[in-house]
């Protein structure tokens, strides 16, 4: 029987098959951990006298609570003592259990979903979990990758398995030719607006069609990253030559790379395989997108008028955002710009932003921070001189981390401030109590930083 990519990868990892009485026991090939969602899981291990079954399949870093500035004396200005303690706890736990950890001294420390692929730890056909909903990012490589809670982090540490029922599958086909200037971020915001923030609940997504085939790995990661914003725990793209080229010669790339590529190539969905649901989108219909409300499904073409609220919840969202239904969104005043996060902090993103910033200046009174996704991205960007472009334009160039995406390290906006952000969530207060978030591509964010208002990068390219 023809199988989908998801079916094939799932089948390879079933330890105990699911029945009406119990879910499947699913084996996990790679467990990524970070400081925020792991401490209570290690506590459970200790309470129960359990050990870490496969420290060799576990990889740790520090990213969420970490400061993106360094004090003059080299110390790190943690937002609270507790945040510093959380980082220390991660480092102590992974030391105790023998888990490879990319801490302060590592050349590879970074946002967990930027670091995994860079190390080649993320590979096609794997099952990958992390106590972080944006684990869906790794689906860009043809892996089943999804976020789990801390209880399940404990399960994976102890048994390398989780209990889960097989989700339904949904194919999202995007074919055609993208309009000039439309980026992977615009593609995924369009998809979320179309299927809705809950549209993917209960499904594993597969992104199909020439648009994804032509995308770089950085672009594919941006798309898969936001699968969870449509409610889908995971989103995948079939591995192909682009994937194989990316994975060549990385730290964890299999020794027998050629054989691995043959195996990976066999994972693509078979002709005639059935999905539970299929969605078709014409690439030509996708415009440069921004969000205007308080969830990622409230996204719209930047050139359009803000939709009129359809119900009380949308009305409330517009009031929170200070947006007026029927008015243009382009031209709305911006206080802050954030370029970074596991969605858009890779080289392709930073190059795109730098192309807009080059030779221009950030609008007066506007704060812009650029936060590379990892130490590796930071080094590569600096080797290309991108940091000089950002700082010459008046933007700040920070240390790698999640930063203003989740705003738990102290990087945040003030109440009422409007942030154009390349991150993934525009929930009320996400970037600081009372802060207002407009999600956009790096190009749009950079153009808005220059203009001081929400603006399409089109005229600046």
């Amino acid at each position: 029987m023809p199988q989908t990519l998801f079916d094939k990868v799932w089948a390879r990892h079933v330890v105990v098959a699911e029945t009406a009485a119990h879910p499947a026991t699913l084996y996990i090939d790679l467990h990524l951990i970070h400081e925020v969602t792991s401490p209570q899981a290690f506590t459970v291990l200790r309470e129960r006298g359990l050990s870490v079954r496969r420290p060799d399949l576990t990889l740790a870093t520090i990213d969420h609570s970490t400061p993106t500035l360094i004090n003059k004396d080299g110390s790190r200005p943690f937002v609270t003592e507790q945040a510093g303690k959380q980082v220390e706890t991660l480092l102590a736990n992974t030391e105790e259990y023998g888990i490879e950890t990319h801490g302060w001294e590592s050349e590879n420390r970074g946002i967990v979903h930027v670091m995994g692929p860079e190390l080649g730890a993320t590979q096609p056909g794997m099952t990958i979990v992390c106590g972080d909903s944006h684990t869906s990012t790794h689906g860009a490589f043809g892996a089943i990758a999804f976020g789990i809670g801390t209880t399940q982090v404990g399960h994976v540490l102890a048994t390398q398995c989780i209990l889960m029922r097989k989700p339904k599958t949904m194919a999202i086909h995007v074919n055609g030719t993208l309009v000039d200037g439309v980026t992977p971020k615009d593609v995924i915001l369009h998809i979320i607006a179309k299927i809705g923030v809950g549209g993917g609940t209960g499904y594993a997504l597969e992104y199909c069609g020439n648009i994804f085939e032509q995308m770089s790995m950085d672009g594919r990661m941006t798309v898969c990253n936001m699968s969870i914003e449509a409610g889908a725990r995971c989103g995948m793209i079939a591995p192909d030559q682009t994937t194989f080229d990316y994975l060549k010669d990385r730290k964890f790339t299999p020794e027998d790379y050629d054989a691995a590529c043959v195996d990976w190539a066999s994972l693509a969905t078979d002709k005639g395989a059935a999905y539970d649901k299929e969605v078709y989108i014409k690439a030509e219909d996708i415009m440069t997108m921004v969000t205007y409300g308080t969830h990622p499904g409230m996204a719209m073409p930047i050139a359009a008028n803000i939709p009129i609220a359809a119900d009380e919840a949308e009305e409330k969202a517009l009031i929170y955002m200070g947006m007026t239904g029927g008015a243009k969104i382009a031209g709305v005043k911006v206080d802050r710009v954030f370029i970074g996060s596991c969605t858009n902090s890779r080289m392709e993103d930073l190059r795109a932003a730098a192309d807009i910033f080059r030779g221009r200046t950030v609008a007066a009174g506007l704060t812009t921070i650029v936060v590379p996704g990892s130490e590796l991205v930071k080094r590569e960007a600096e080797a290309e001189g991108l940091h000089d472009v950002f700082t010459a334009a008046g933007a700040q160039w920070r240390e790698p981390g999640c930063s203003m995406c989740i705003a738990m390290n102290g990087d945040k906006a003030a109440p009422g401030e409007l942030v154009v952000s390349t991150s993934n969530r525009n929930f009320a207060g996400r970037q600081g109590p009372g802060a207002r978030t407009v999600l956009a591509s790096p190009q749009t964010a950079a153009a808005s930083a220059i203009a001081g208002v929400i603006m399409d990068a089109g005229s600046l390219v």
């Binding site: 969602t37 937002v79 809670g149 209880t151």
Partner: protein, 198 residues
């Protein structure tokens, strides 16, 4: 983690009717730097309940009536957003044992089951009745998988994964079940290793 078995809950309902209540609303990220799971109830819906200077708002969540409720009825797609288990931890610490909505986000749902918090996805009619009748006393029966509404609201069945139901009713978590599969896991690992070395 162990929790109290949950068989039936009879309580007045706390209704938060907004659709798409995300985990950043349930517990803002700045409270996630803890290394323990205890005592997060005071930060449940923190930014709805407190002004910036720490004074309480007049939000219903601060009322004694709300704090006495064990059943929370949320708008459609409750719990969307992040994987933070701090969300169900904060709700259970606040006193909630059941969350009812017409749709509940996958990760929040999975996390809730593991913490003695029963998530119920109920049909639209019943959900609408609950939204329209805040504060009514209702009964959730996990033995029969029914929600019983007063005032001729009727009785509505709900579906729940059989395994999760068992765990909730017995107050057991999944760790013991998983560790008991050690042999099957070891066999799988051997097969995988052999496959890689072919």
């Amino acid at each position: 983690m162990t929790f109290a078995p949950l068989k039936t809950v009879t309580s007045k309902t706390l209704v938060l009717p907004a659709a798409n209540i995300d985990t950043d609303q349930i517990i803002p990220a700045r409270f996630l730097t803890v290394t323990s799971r205890d005592g997060l109830g005071k930060h449940a819906f923190n930014d709805w309940r407190y002004h910036e200077d720490g004074r309480e708002t007049d939000h219903i969540l601060n009322s004694d009536a709300a704090k006495a409720c064990e059943i929370l009825v949320g708008g459609h797609n409750f719990g969307c957003g992040s994987s933070r288990e701090h969300a169900p931890w904060s709700l259970t610490d606040y006193g909630i044992r059941v969350v009812i909505s017409s749709e509940i986000a996958d990760i929040f749902l999975s996390n809730s089951m593991k913490n003695g918090l029963l998530p119920i996805i109920i049909e639209k009619n019943a959900h609408q009745w609950l939204l329209d009748h805040p504060g009514e006393e209702i009964t959730v029966d996990l033995k029969t998988c029914e929600v019983r509404l007063p005032k001729n609201g009727g009785t509505f069945g709900f579906n729940i994964d059989a395994f999760s139901r068992h765990c909730l009713m017995e107050g057991v978590d999944e760790m013991g079940y998983l560790t008991a599969q050690n042999d099957a896991i070891a066999t799988y690992e051997k097969k995988q290793k052999a496959r890689r070395e072919l």
